[in-house]
Amino acid sequence: MSADHARYHRQTLLPAIGAEGQRQLGEAHVLIVGSGALGCVIADALTRAGVGRITIVDRDVVEITNLQRQILFDESDVDAGTPKAIAAATRLRAINGAIEIIAHVDDFNHRNAERLLGDADVIVDGLDNFQTRYILNDLAVERGVAYIYGGAVATGGVSLPVLPHADVRMAAPPRRLTWTDAQSTPCLRCVFPEAPPPGTTPTCDTAGVLGPLVMTIGAHQATQTLKLLTGNIDALDRRLLSIDVWSNEWRRFDVSGARRDARAACPCCVEGRFEHLDGSAAGAAITLCGRNAVQMTGAAETSALDLDAAAARLASHGSFHANDFLLRGVFRDERGPDGDAIELTLFSNGRAIIKGTTEPELARSIYARYVGI
């Protein structure tokens, strides 16, 4: 028995996979965007399953608060301040040296999205914000690539597969993974047309998150990916999964009518406007010269941000105070690259100034984790 044969034996015993499915996995390329809790679980499962190439993109470094749920990291990564993409790749290569792991320490955005996608067959979502998710969704629809959305906060999570309709796909070389029109699904924006306004949605940093919840959602995303890559498209769970592991609710919703019944025609998969991928809907992160600060303007500006509620959510992370116009405070445990404390000033329209760093990537990360988008 060859090493590869033995490694994947228990998986190839499954009739739906077999030797042919294993061969398909070995030829496949998966892009995982975000290597936080979900990304770790997904990457671990796909690495062990023998997906031939896995690209991982993440902009953050490993912190002690990650270890409760981010299964590819350990204390040595925290001590060394290792970027998550690098730490994940090191661990994954130790698990399976027979596959290729490609790590990018980068902020995934509309400028680098198409380059990072390459010839990936499936995009799997390990993100922590909707702004970037809509870029993934645009990218998937424009290029005709499958996309698996997942999200998890506190004890509740959701997941949705997207097999884009071909109507608005750009002319491009055919991809390995294809599906029929009848197998196509609504896209993320058909189901969730608008991102939550900044500051209205809880994040794992403000509301907490249960470790096994993200393992459950990540496992579902990985299973969906394995079905697609082995040609078992009809076995895909096409419903929107919504679970709460604490109140024991597991529900699946048929969203097949979402593209037709949406409040307005989907700008992405019906009208072919890729406003997140072309950058026209992007929020800006601008370094403020000479001030050791970055200004963030939200993609979805709001006029009604509840600053008192935002201050309450941030109370366990430092001293934050709100008045009628703005919220201001300093994070106890966040530091810029020079060791400076990170100060947040958040205005009621969602604009923020993040002081203590000149790095837009760090500012975006702070905004996504503590303000929430």
Partner: protein
């Protein structure tokens, strides 16, 4: 007629309930139910444009009529991960 409403994820936390019940006039639509709920529950008003609505576990548009005894599920997008 009576319509049961289930709330999910952060919407349940923000409203402080996992389910609600509303009395609606005959002929009411999903839009009517959402408008009523938005009047009495600020988090639903704030999140309304972002919420996916399912009628008896099937996604529906806001023009869909509700029926006595039906269940509406209000599912907000979940951001973290």
């Amino acid at each position: 007629m009576k319509v049961d409403v289930l709330l999910f994820a952060q919407l349940a936390d923000a409203v402080g309930a996992r389910s609600l019940s509303v009395d609606m006039a005959d002929g009411a639509t999903v839009d009517d139910v959402m408008t009523r709920l938005a009047e009495t529950h600020e988090p639903i008003r704030v999140m309304r444009e972002t919420i996916a609505v399912a009628l008896d576990e099937r996604y529906v548009g806001e023009g869909t009529r509700v029926r006595d005894g039906c269940t509406l599920a209000l599912i907000p997008p979940v951001s973290g991960g």
